[in-house]
Symmetry: C2
Subunit: 262 residues, 2 copies
Amino acid sequence: METETAPILRITEQGRNEGKDTVVAESYLTIVLNSQELVTLLCSPTKLDYLAVGFLASEGFIKSKDEIEKIIIDDERGIAQVTTRGAVDHAAHISSGRFIASSGGKGFRSYHTLDVSGRAEIKSYLQVRAPEVFALMEEFGQRSKVFQATGGVHSAALCDITNILIFSEDIGRHNAVDKIFGECILKDISTDDRIILTSGRVSSEILLKVARRNIPILLSKSAPTNLAIKLAADLGMTLIGFARGRRMNVYSVAWRIVPDEK
Amino acid sequence: METETAPILRITEQGRNEGKDTVVAESYLTIVLNSQELVTLLCSPTKLDYLAVGFLASEGFIKSKDEIEKIIIDDERGIAQVTTRGAVDHAAHISSGRFIASSGGKGFRSYHTLDVSGRAEIKSYLQVRAPEVFALMEEFGQRSKVFQATGGVHSAALCDITNILIFSEDIGRHNAVDKIFGECILKDISTDDRIILTSGRVSSEILLKVARRNIPILLSKSAPTNLAIKLAADLGMTLIGFARGRRMNVYSVAWRIVPDEK
């Protein structure tokens, strides 16, 4: 269950009354990679296989479905056991929205040490018109049922220029995006020439995660950071923030948003 | 600098025009504890000493100022070197808004293994009237200058029933709260009978962080999770969500919000 009902006391200037509120469920997923416990994610209790695979791909532990031998999900205990065909380096750094877990002696982090070295520029001639962006963001808002009920989750979507292809919600903004990419990997859905929508703020971590899938346009309802903007420009990604109602701010590579012909 | 100016293309239904946007700065802080690299936080580049100490306290590495022998902040490189008087166990789990970094073999996570064992109920007879809550939240919104400029940060504050005593902003909602507690520890400011305000959603992690400082009332502009509500009830904390404008939802221990005498 993604939501629960909780008794509340609602207080306004007019007075107080007891009622019920729909609240979002917080759950955990422990990812065990090749019999070794890797990490425990705070998450919404849905699409745990996609979350596990998306997390492993985003953090560089796996690249494609071919590398996965077996996935066993224990919904009850919140455990994903992933077995790969070949060996995997467990000692890699793991990044999250808040921190990079240290495995010791890897040195300090700055723009120059961000994971951009050797990363190819995003190659895509995808273009989209502003009314198409506004329409996608409107559909995105309507699809966010758990957010509408609770206000407590982030959402993400993979789109072409006219349709939402995959949609996900999670209490973590990173998880919502990882679930999208996990589903793409497991279902062999290409992310080339696609668009990612996110409700969340765009930090360098989110940007790099999306760049890793060769996605040319990232559309957010919220704010980007200065580092995300710099990375987007360097990697050739179109980064759009504050896409709300019928307006948006384009922070990089604006030629992909073509003027509307009147 | 907490913010930067970025060139943008603003697109609305009326057309497009080039302009400038104020965007939030994303930075890193690597915490080195007793000469050993512990973690790298994504953060806003302010109050790095408070952030380092607050993080170490929230994660259980230190308890009080007395345990700290020396703090050296390298603003330029984003490094906080903290030396403690006694030895510290580096092998502890580190929790963030998204995941618990594994140090191997510590077992899986569930409500029962959350860090509540042996935790005393919060003892406080603090009470507050609804108009006082509304006034605090109004001042809180006005103080959030970086949020007003960029939309890209979270804020947190320590208050008594009429005043904001300490205020902080950070791109991470956990960091904003850790900065508050770091400042309390370094300046010997008591958190007993105080109130914490946060702009962010309240997960179990945020709730436990606040409970650790014996704070009886946690006020959020956003949504709590089901687990945060359960923990608040178990620990005797008053948890309030959606405190916006002149309304709020009280999720636990409602007696601390006293009816207004007319």
